[in-house]
Symmetry: D2
Subunit: 311 residues, 4 copies
Amino acid sequence: MNPSPLQHAHGVFPIAPTPFLDDGSIDFASIDRLSEFYLHSGSTGVTVLGQLGEAPKLDAAESLAVAERFIRAFGRMPVVVGVTAPGFAAMRTLAREAMALGAAGVMIAPPNTLRTDDQIAGYYAQAAQAIGADVPFVIQDYPLTFSVQMTPAVIRRIVEENAACVMLKHEDWPGLEKISALRAFERDGAMRHVSILCGNGGLFLDFECERGADGAMTGYAFPDMLCDVVRLQRAKARDAAHELFDAHLPLLRYEQQPGVGLAVRKHVLQRRGLIASSAQRAPKAALTPTARAEVEYLLARLARHDARAAL
Amino acid sequence: MNPSPLQHAHGVFPIAPTPFLDDGSIDFASIDRLSEFYLHSGSTGVTVLGQLGEAPKLDAAESLAVAERFIRAFGRMPVVVGVTAPGFAAMRTLAREAMALGAAGVMIAPPNTLRTDDQIAGYYAQAAQAIGADVPFVIQDYPLTFSVQMTPAVIRRIVEENAACVMLKHEDWPGLEKISALRAFERDGAMRHVSILCGNGGLFLDFECERGADGAMTGYAFPDMLCDVVRLQRAKARDAAHELFDAHLPLLRYEQQPGVGLAVRKHVLQRRGLIASSAQRAPKAALTPTARAEVEYLLARLARHDARAAL
Amino acid sequence: MNPSPLQHAHGVFPIAPTPFLDDGSIDFASIDRLSEFYLHSGSTGVTVLGQLGEAPKLDAAESLAVAERFIRAFGRMPVVVGVTAPGFAAMRTLAREAMALGAAGVMIAPPNTLRTDDQIAGYYAQAAQAIGADVPFVIQDYPLTFSVQMTPAVIRRIVEENAACVMLKHEDWPGLEKISALRAFERDGAMRHVSILCGNGGLFLDFECERGADGAMTGYAFPDMLCDVVRLQRAKARDAAHELFDAHLPLLRYEQQPGVGLAVRKHVLQRRGLIASSAQRAPKAALTPTARAEVEYLLARLARHDARAAL
Amino acid sequence: MNPSPLQHAHGVFPIAPTPFLDDGSIDFASIDRLSEFYLHSGSTGVTVLGQLGEAPKLDAAESLAVAERFIRAFGRMPVVVGVTAPGFAAMRTLAREAMALGAAGVMIAPPNTLRTDDQIAGYYAQAAQAIGADVPFVIQDYPLTFSVQMTPAVIRRIVEENAACVMLKHEDWPGLEKISALRAFERDGAMRHVSILCGNGGLFLDFECERGADGAMTGYAFPDMLCDVVRLQRAKARDAAHELFDAHLPLLRYEQQPGVGLAVRKHVLQRRGLIASSAQRAPKAALTPTARAEVEYLLARLARHDARAAL
C-alpha cells in the first residue's frame, strides 16, 4: 500500500466526542461545528468513535453515519476511526466501510482479557489480517482502561510484524520512559518509525513532547491549548509551553477523572458553544450541581491566564 | 406482556455452536441438521449466539441470519438469542430484530468490568430498558468467564426490579448453594419464580437438579445424555441419573476446559455427524493430534457404558 | 473502649516512607529526622507501614521496629500503623504489638480479590474481630491500587457494623462525589461520624476539603504545603488555598505516577535533606537521569511560587 | 549447590492441609497422623504451607512450627514448604528458616498483579535472589487462583535464568498442551529438566502423566488413589489407571470447587480418621448439611469401586 500520512503525523488529533441531542439522537450539526473548530484551532487530524466518543453506545449504522459526517467535514485532513469490537467480523466490516468513506486509518484497542506478550501480539496480527493489509492502523495502549499491559518490546513486535501499523496512541501511565524506550529502539535501528500521539487527557503532554512524542490524541476540552503546547515544544520554547500547560493543569486533571470525565468535557464543550447539548447515552455519569460549580471555578481561575477560558 | 414460556421452562436448552464451513462461511445446512437432532433428542428449547456459539465473531447481519435459521428450524419450540454486546444500541437492535423473527427471549451477560452490587443491578436495569419491556430476558451468571460475581441477593434484585427477567442461566462455580439460596428466597416469598437452567458444561448437573434447577443450558456434545439425566432426576431415579452422568463425566470434564473446549465440542459433534466441519473462526484454539487421540480414547471408554458414544 | 482521637482527626497525616540506607538496611536516624520535620511542618499525625512505606518489603521484626521508632519520635501525636496482611493471624499479631507500643490505630486495606458488597463488608468484620474490638482502625479505600470498589453504602455498612472503625482513608478516583455522599449520610443521621483523610497523592485535595474531607493522608514530598492548603481551606481562604495548590500541581501530578512515584518522592525528600538516601528495596522502579532532570525542572518552576522548593 | 532431589522427583507430593482443633489452634497430633498416612500410602514427598494449607492464616511463628513438625515426621522424605509472601523480606526469612530445619525446597507463587512476561520472569529472579542461591524452589503456576498467565516460554526463561529452580507445580487449566510443550523444549535441548507435578485437584491427572508429568502435587482427600494412578501409568497400565481415576472423578470434581473445596477435603479427611477436626480458620466456607449429604452419597457410590471409600 501507499505510505500512510499517519505514520509521520504530528500535532494534535482531538478525540472527538459524539454529540447527542437531548433525546439521545445524534446531533450532526454539532459534528460540523466541532469539526470546523478543530480545523481552525490547528488540529492536524481527528479521531472519532473512540472510547470518549461513546462508540460502544452506537449501533453499526450509527457508527458509520458519525464517521462519514466527520470525514466529510474534515476534507483532506486525516480522520482515524475507532473500530475496536468484541470480534473480528464486526471490526472488519466497520474498518472497510470507514476506509471506503475516506478514513485515513483505524484505531484498535485490545480486549481486556489479554495477558501474555504472545496473546497481545497474536491479537494484533489477527486483527490486522481481519481488516486487510491495506488498512493503516493505530495501536491504542491504554492500560488504565483496558487492563492490558504492553511492554515496549511488545509494541515493537506489533510494529515489526504488521506493516500496516502506523501509529501508537500512547496512554500508558506512567508512560514517559516508554516513549523514551520506543524512540531508543528507533534510533538503534531496532524498530521502524511510527508516530506517537499521547492520550491520557494530556496529563503529561508537557514532558511527552520532550521525550519524543509527536503530539496529542486526546479529548481535553481545550484542544486549541494542546495545539499551542505542541507547537511551542516543537519551537523549543520550553518554558512557554510549560507555562501554558500548567495554567490548564487544574482543569485538565479535573477532566481526566475516569467515568465522570466525559460529562465534564461535554459540559465544557457546550459552555464553549461547540456542541448543542452535553447529553450522553446510557450508561453515563452525570455532573452534580457541586461538580458544575467546581468546573466554573476552575474556568474562572483559568481565564486569568488564558482568554479562551473566559466563557 | 403475556407470560413468557421461558419463566417456567425445564429440561435442556442446548447452547448451539455456530457451524462454519472450512472457509469460515456459515454452514446453514448444519444448523438445520443440528436443530433436528436437538429436537429429536428431547431438548425443550435452544440457545443460539452464546459465547460457545462464537457470537462475537459474527457481524450484525450474520448474527441475525444465524438466529433466523435456528428459529425457523425450531418451529414452536423456544429459541433464546444471545444479545450480549459492548453497548445498549447494538444490544437493542439485535434483540428487537430477533424477537420480530420469533425468538422466545434474549440472553444478556454482564460486561467484565462490573464490580459492585449496584453496578450489576444498574446494568441489567439499563439493559432491560434498552431492549424494551416486552422482551423476556435471561441473566447469564458465569463468573469464571465474565469475572462478574453476582450474589443470590443481587440476582433477586434483578428479578424483582425487572418484570421481563424470566430465567437464570446459572454457571457460577461453585454454584450448588446458590441454587439452594435462590429457591429458598422463592419458598419464602422473597422472590418470584424464574426458571434456572445450568451451564458450566454440565459439570455439576447431577446435583444441580437435586438442588432445584430446572435443567441444563450448556454445550456438551451429548445433549441427549443431558436430557436423559434431567428426565431421570425429575422421575426421582437418582441412582440411574448419577450412573449415566458419571459415565460421561470424564469426557464432559475434558470438554469443559476453557479455550480449547469449543474445539473438543465441535470435533465430537462432527464425529457424531451433526455438523459438517469443526472449523472455527479466529481467535481459536485448535486440537493437537494428541488431544484428538485423547478424545477418541474417552469416547471409546464411554461407548462401553453408552451406545451413543460408539462412533 | 475510650473514644479514639482518630475519629475526629483533621489536618494532615503524612504517609511516611520507610528510609533505607544504600545497603538496604533501615535508616532509623532518618526516621527521626523525618518525624521531626513532620511535627514542625504542622502535621497532626502520621501513618507508617503503608503501601508507600514499602511495608510488604519488611519482615515481621522490621515492621515492628519501624513502627516503634516512629511512635517514639511522635510522642503524643497519633501514629497509624498499616497492618494489611494476606491473613488475619499476621494482621492480629502486628496490630496488637503496635498498639502495645502506643499506636493510635491501624489501617487495613482489602485484598484485591474482593468483589461483592458482602465480601467487602464481611472482610472488614472478620478483620475487626481478628485484631480485637479495642483496636481503632482505618479503612483504606484505594481502588486504583487494590482493585476493590467500595460504594458509599458499603463504607457506611462497615462503619455501622464495626464500632472500632474510626476513619476513612479516601483515595477512590474519581472520589469527590463519594465524600459528598458520605457526609450526606452523616447529616441525615444514617451514619455516625468518622474522619475522612484523603490520599491519591493529594491530586484533588483542593476540592476534597470543600466537599467535607478533614484533610490529607498521603505521601507528597511537600506535606508542609498540604498542611497549609488544609489550614487555608479551614480558614475559608479558598482562593489562597487553590493558588498554593495549583503551584504544586505539576510536581504533585508527576509524583502521583504509579510505580515510579515512590522513587520521585524519595528523591525529593532526599533533595530536601529529610532522608539520607533515596534507596528502595526490591521490587523497585528507579529514576532515569531524564526523569531526575524533569523533577529538577519542576522544582525550579515551583520555587518561583513557593520558597520551600528552592533546594 | 548439590543437586536437589526435587529436580528428578516423581510420584505424589500431597498438599497437606494444616489441621486445626475446634478452637482454631494448630493440631500437631493430626500432623503426625497425616504424615504417617502419607508415607504409608506411597507418597514420595509432601508440600506444606500451600494455599490449601491455609498458609496465609498462620503468623510467622506458627508457619515455622507447622513446617518443622511435618519435616520431623517425614524424616528423610522431601518436604516442600510454601513461602509465598507479599514481599521478599518475609519470604526470605521463612525460606531460610525452613531450609535450616531440613526442608528440601520452597514453593513460590506469583503475586496476582503480574501481567507481562518480563514482570513474571523478573519476579522470580528477584525472589530467587532474595531467598539465596542455595535454596531449591518450585514454581507454582496456578492461573485460576493467582490470575497470572505463564506461557511455556516464560517458564523456560525462569528455569534457564535460575539454577535453583527445580520443579514446576503445574496447575494451569487447560494445561495438557503446556506439559507437552515443556517436555518438547527439553527434548530439543532448549530447556534443562525440571520435574513437573500437577495440581488442580488432580482433575486431569489421568492424561497429565501420559503427557510427561512426573506425578501429582495436590490435596485430593484420597492421595493413596493418586499414588496408584501414577504408579499404574508408570507401569504402562493405561486402562487400569483410567478405570481407577474415573471411579474417583465424581468426588474429585466435587472437591475441586473453589472456596468450598477445602471444607470438603477436611471433611473427607476427618471421615477417613486422618485429622481430628475439619475446623478451618477464617475466612472459611462451611459445608451445609445438603453438601455433606452429597459428599456421603459420592463416597457411597465410590465405595462400590474402591474399598478405601467404605467409611
